[in-house]
């Protein structure tokens, strides 16, 4: 990645933050309302995924095939794993529990730091610890094998 990629990454972060804020994802009560399927369900966040997927999928299938490589990189780096594995299932399950408990996921957590309040700060710091914990566990596990 060169200076161009790095600068663009910053701009992409800006746009992503605008999107997260406008969509309601930075308001935990809207996230929890969306997950409150059996209570007072607020379906609005459904449209976030619909909007985002509509744009990304359109690009992926209609535009991307015409390009052999990214504009400012040598190759596309897409995820390669294909199997449904236990870590995928268990990790996703745990993530969902955390998401339902706090109403934050990683992106909104970082963007909400801009609110300069306690909750997002505690969330992000704990999230970083959680990530480090898994890296440690994963490391030990592969040493054992």
């Amino acid at each position: 990645m060169t200076g161009k990629n790095i600068s663009l990454s910053f701009v992409i972060g800006l746009i992503f933050a605008f999107g997260l804020s406008i969509s309601g994802m930075t308001q935990p009560q809207k996230v929890i309302g969306f997950l409150d399927l059996f209570g007072s369900w607020d379906p609005s966040l459904m449209f976030v995924m619909i909007g985002a997927i509509a744009v990304h999928a359109s690009y992926f299938y209609l535009v991307k095939p015409r390009f052999s490589k990214p504009i400012w990189a040598a190759i596309y780096q897409l995820p390669t794993k294909k199997d449904i594995t236990t870590p995928l299932l268990l990790g996703s399950a745990l993530f969902g529990v955390g998401w339902g408990l706090g109403g934050y996921c990683p992106g909104p957590g970082i963007t909400s730091l801009a609110n300069l309040s306690q909750e997002p700060l505690y969330f992000v710091l704990s999230m970083l610890v959680g990530m480090a914990l898994y890296r440690k566990v994963e490391g030990q596990w592969s040493l054992l094998k």
Binding site: I22, G24, P70, G96, G102, C105, I110
Partner: protein
């Protein structure tokens, strides 16, 4: 159309646009949990673009907070204990599960990735269960 639905759709379209830029120019998927984790992984040499992206997420938030503070209105007063537990689970779970709402939910599903579709159904599922259980015990 309901204003909340419209805001959500517009926000989603912006998010989609951001992920398209990342793919088209940088050749990468915008999985925020992975982008953050990559800063700390020992093998990672490409921390600069990751830090730039995360900085953009934060600075973008500052702009939005300044112009439209209502987007950060939080009516839920979770205890610090709950938030810390939530953060630990989200951090641990997203790395174990190789992604979150942006990586799996947006980018993965758009590519019809089986892994991502399964992951998304599961994290939404346990999210729904968690909120339901929380309400049950509080009432």
């Amino acid at each position: 159309m309901n204003p909340d639905f419209l805001n959500a759709l517009i926000g989603g379209i912006l998010i989609g646009f951001a992920t398209v830029l990342m793919m088209h120019f940088n050749g990468r998927v915008t999985g925020i949990s992975g982008i953050i984790n990559g800063v700390f992984k020992r093998v990672s040499q490409d921390w600069a673009w990751r830090i730039a992206f995360v900085s953009g997420l934060f600075v973008g938030g500052l702009f939005m907070k300044y112009w439209f503070p209502h987007y950060f209105l939080n009516t839920i007063q979770s205890s610090p204990r709950t938030i810390i537990l939530a953060g630990l689970l989200v951090g641990f779970g997203t790395i174990m599960g190789s992604g979150c709402t942006s990586g799996h939910g947006v980018c993965g599903i758009s590519r019809f990735s089986k892994r991502s579709m399964v992951a998304t159904i599961i994290f939404i599922g346990t999210g729904v269960m968690t909120v339901a259980l929380k309400n049950y015990f509080l009432n």
